[in-house]
């Protein structure tokens, strides 16, 4: 075997009250795609941050091409040869593609930026990545996938030895993922060592050569992917065998009619629709990206006020124009984008959990500290939220744990209608299964749920009924035996559906 291009040994990192990384070893060989796998909070991000110098590690050595290095910060590690591309493209959308590629090292001519040369070189660089685009246009005018590839090109041009891709496919659709993979293949051919972090196991097997699996901050195994099955990897990640998410058909009858919407809609957002939601019922919202799933969720919760139609709650007329009114009527919404619409990053986990309850009670009736502690503790235990302390800022939690804390925030308000928008996006298989189990459990207890999701298997597993959307309009409803991924796809594809 050749020398590893990057060899990290004994990497340790301590956080208050927790060991984030414990004696972790990672060896990357030139021309390999190495997947880094693990549940949320297993230490994947922490390891990357230690390698790139975003965190200062508390122990261990990093060798790059045989020489020991100690990157001070991500810029330093980039100069040394380790480039990183994150899920959220961190380039400047208001600059052109060429400017983004060459920022900080623009070709100069007589003390001025040589735009013509920059454009030409950018075009050449991007051609190597299979992109024929106009580098003089704004980065924001291209899709996320293209932006991602520009980010990769920049990272590779600056670094050139190791490329770390942190969930690059999370916001890409199928074709875009293929485009990205072709770029990864090219880079592999150029002898780069590539670290690939994702929650999608299929993609891991499609592109990676080897995988290192982390659990609770330790390496539990490094495997050649040609030699193992998905089940084996999942078992390593979880430390236990995964139970199949099954579709429980034998479910209790739905209860009383809770919410009834007639001709409900908002111009420019979602076409008018009818919907009846009973207690103990899960309504799945299916459809492609941009089909109106989130818009439906938002209009029901009053994030955008409906401008047409009527709503009745238990037979009484109801008007909901703001989230506050929705919450007062015991609605709850877990939004799609945790970071911008969900968590209040700098506040503690405890404060985040009681926030909605407190907002509903009003400012003049504060929840006593002891009570807040009790509520938060209860949900930390019930939902298995992994954290060092309730006082830590919620932004330090991993994605899946943030999602659970947000669920806790809403469950604490004891909602009658819980709306979940993409509740399992960007979280790992373990938390994924737990959230699906939770949805089942809440439905059994008589809660009404609306769940929007892009994962059809998931919708099939828990929905009592599935509403199919296309082009911001409801195009079909599936009940009982009709519910299957096949029928959802057919409903989405049907051209003449009303």
């Amino acid at each position: 075997m050749p020398e590893p291009v990057l060899h990290a040994r004994g990497i340790s990192k301590f956080f208050p009250g927790a060991i984030a990384l414990d004696d972790v070893e990672l060896a990357l060989y030139p021309g390999e795609v190495h997947a880094l796998l693990g549940e949320n909070g297993a230490g994947k991000s922490t390891l990357i941050k230690c390698l790139t110098g975003a965190y200062s590690r508390d122990g261990g050595t990093i060798a790059l091409s045989g020489a020991e290095i100690d990157p001070r910060d991500p810029l330093d590690s980039q100069a040394l040869g380790i480039g990183t591309v994150y899920q959220e493209v961190n380039l400047l959308p208001n600059l052109t593609v060429a400017e983004n590629l060459f920022l900080g090292r623009q070709p100069m001519r007589w003390g001025m930026v040589d735009h013509r040369r920059m454009k030409r070189e950018a075009r050449e660089v991007l051609r190597d990545y299979g992109l024929e685009i106009d580098p003089a246009r704004l980065l924001s005018s291209y899709s996320i996938a293209i932006q991602q590839i520009v980010a990769i090109a920049r990272a590779v041009e600056l670094s050139g030895k190791v490329l770390i891709l942190d969930e690059p496919t999370a916001s890409l659709d199928h074709d875009e993922v293929q485009l990205l993979f072709s770029v990864i293949e090219r880079l592999k051919g150029r002898g780069l060592a590539i670290v690939f972090i994702t929650h999608f196991l299929d993609q891991v097997f499609a592109i990676s050569d080897r995988a290192t699996i982390l659990r609770n901050g330790r390496v539990v195994g490094t495997r050649r992917l040609a030699d193992v099955s998905q089940t084996e990897i999942v078992t390593l990640m979880l430390g236990r065998a995964l139970e199949e998410a099954t579709h429980h058909r034998a479910r209790s009858e739905p209860g009383e009619l809770l919410l009834s919407l007639r001709g409900y809609g908002k111009r420019g957002s979602i076409a008018p629709f009818d919907m009846d939601i009973r207690e103990g019922e899960v309504i799945g919202l299916a459809g492609l990206l941009g089909s109106g799933r989130s818009e439906t969720a938002n209009v029901v919760f009053g994030v955008v006020a409906a401008d047409q139609g009527k709503a009745e709650l238990r037979g009484r007329p109801l008007r909901i124009a703001t989230p506050r009114e929705a919450i007062r009527n015991r609605f709850a919404l877990c939004p799609e984008d945790r970071k911008t619409d969900g968590i209040v990053g700098d506040l503690s986990v405890r404060e985040n959990i009681i926030l909605s309850l407190q907002a509903r009670q009003g400012w003049h009736r504060p929840i006593p500290r002891a009570r807040a502690e009790e509520i938060a503790q209860h949900y930390v235990k019930a939902l298995d939220i992994r954290l060092a302390s309730l006082d830590m800022p919620i932004r330090l939690l991993s994605g899946g744990n943030q999602q659970k804390a947000l669920l806790a925030r809403w469950l604490a308000t004891e909602p009658e209608l819980l709306i979940l928008d993409e509740p399992t996006r960007g979280i790992d298989v373990g938390a994924h299964a737990e959230i699906i189990a939770l949805i089942e459990d809440l439905r059994e207890k008589g809660m009404a749920l609306i769940v929007a999701s892009s994962e059809m298997e998931e919708l099939v597993a828990y929905s009592s009924r599935i509403v199919v959307l296309r082009d911001r309009r409801q195009v079909g409803e599936l009940t009982g035996h009709e519910i299957s991924t096949k029928s959802i796809v057919e409903a989405i594809a049907a051209e003449d559906a009303a």
Binding site: F14, L347, R360, W363, A388
Partner: protein, 349 residues
């Protein structure tokens, strides 16, 4: 709760102690307080008394800054409130009515700012800049361009009088600060304000009425500024529309910053801001007592404040943290006790 507050404001207490110690060095009688004609006299009393306007402004400003806003208009609001009070008493109104009218004017200014920020969604720095410029003009219209003097003993007592031998302004700022702090921390307002400051979208979706909260903090800021304006006018027995509260908004912002409150909103401490106001006033006293030529004042003040801010900067604080951490034995098998911040975060804050 008490203990964590103390820990939070410890840097400010240490800096204030250093500034006061420096005062004693240049003027050994600094802590000497005597009782004459039914009033306490002394440099320390002066610091507390002269610091009243900044302390009042800092109280309101802390809340505004906690919501990720800023209120540049407070100096101009002081001028308006002083002018309103002065013209009311010269017009024959009772001093209590004059005070109420001044407060009402401050409230109106605060509501105006709140309207622009909370409803029209204008950036706070721009929204309050409007009143910062226009406010002084309004005050000049009220005083018709002249310094409007008055002799109403009731009104004058607010700025120059005493209650139980202690100058009234000291009572006023302590009372306002305690009342505000009490209301904020004994209710959930503090939490809700912090939530809005950190992430307004999330807060709104969680059911917080962010508009009303934003409106309320600008209202409080306006009221605090109005009271400060009345005190300043009462102290000189006249309303000077051109100079009353001039540049005071900057002192107030500085007090909040010295108090370690982030201009990016979120976590805040009114106590720390008040200590910040006293530190500024302590520095003023230091320059005065050291007998330095007046033309050095502003430069020296700037230097001292730069030093204070550098000491509080994330980089220096991190070095101090490392210094402390390296003195004891390092326990490898136990997690560290305080959260090491990432280097990126340090660069930002």
């Amino acid at each position: 709760m008490m203990k964590s507050t103390l820990k939070r404001v410890m840097p400010q207490i240490i800096i204030l102690a250093l500034v006061l110690a420096a005062n004693v060095l240049v003027f050994p009688g600094f802590f000497h307080i005597e009782f004459q004609h039914g009033r306490l006299f002394g440099n320390l009393i002066d610091v507390l008394n002269r610091g009243a306007p900044t302390a009042l402004l800092a109280t309101g400003m802390t809340l505004v800054i906690a919501t990720r806003g800023i209120d540049l208009s407070v100096g101009a609001v002081m001028a308006i409130a002083g002018a309103v009070a002065a013209s009311a008493v010269t017009g024959g109104a009772h001093w209590t009515l004059a005070l109420l009218m001044a407060l009402a004017a401050g409230a109106a200014c605060g509501l105006w700012n709140g309207l622009l920020v909370a409803i029209f969604r204008i950036q706070p720095i721009v929204a309050t800049l409007v009143l910062m410029v226009a406010g002084r003009g309004i005050a000049q219209l009220l005083t018709e361009g002249a310094i409007l003097t008055f002799n109403d003993p009731g009104l004058i007592r607010l700025g120059a009088g005493t209650i139980a031998a202690v100058p009234t302004p000291i009572w006023l700022w302590i009372a306002v600060a305690c009342l505000t702090g009490f209301v904020i921390r004994r209710t959930a307002l503090g939490l809700l304000i912090e939530a809005v400051g950190v992430n307004e979208t999330s807060s709104r979706l969680a059911g917080i009425n962010s508009r009303v909260l934003l409106w309320a903090v600008y209202l409080v800021s306006g009221l605090c500024a109005a009271l400060a304006g009345v005190i300043v006018a009462a102290d000189i027995k006249g309303a000077d529309a051109n100079n009353a509260g001039l540049w005071m908004e900057l002192d107030a912002i500085l007090a909040v910053v010295i108090g370690g409150n982030s201009l990016l909103g979120g976590r805040f401490s009114i106590t720390a801001s008040l200590l910040g106001a006293l530190i500024i006033q302590g520095v003023n006293a230091l320059i005065l007592l050291s007998g330095m030529p007046v033309e050095f004042n502003l430069v020296i003040k700037a230097l001292i404040i730069i030093a204070i801010l550098v000491i509080q900067s994330p980089r220096v604080r991190h070095s101090l943290y490392l210094l402390r951490a390296s003195t004891g034995p390092v326990l490898r098998d136990r997690p560290a006790r305080t959260a090491p911040r990432t280097r990126q975060e340090e660069g930002q804050s």
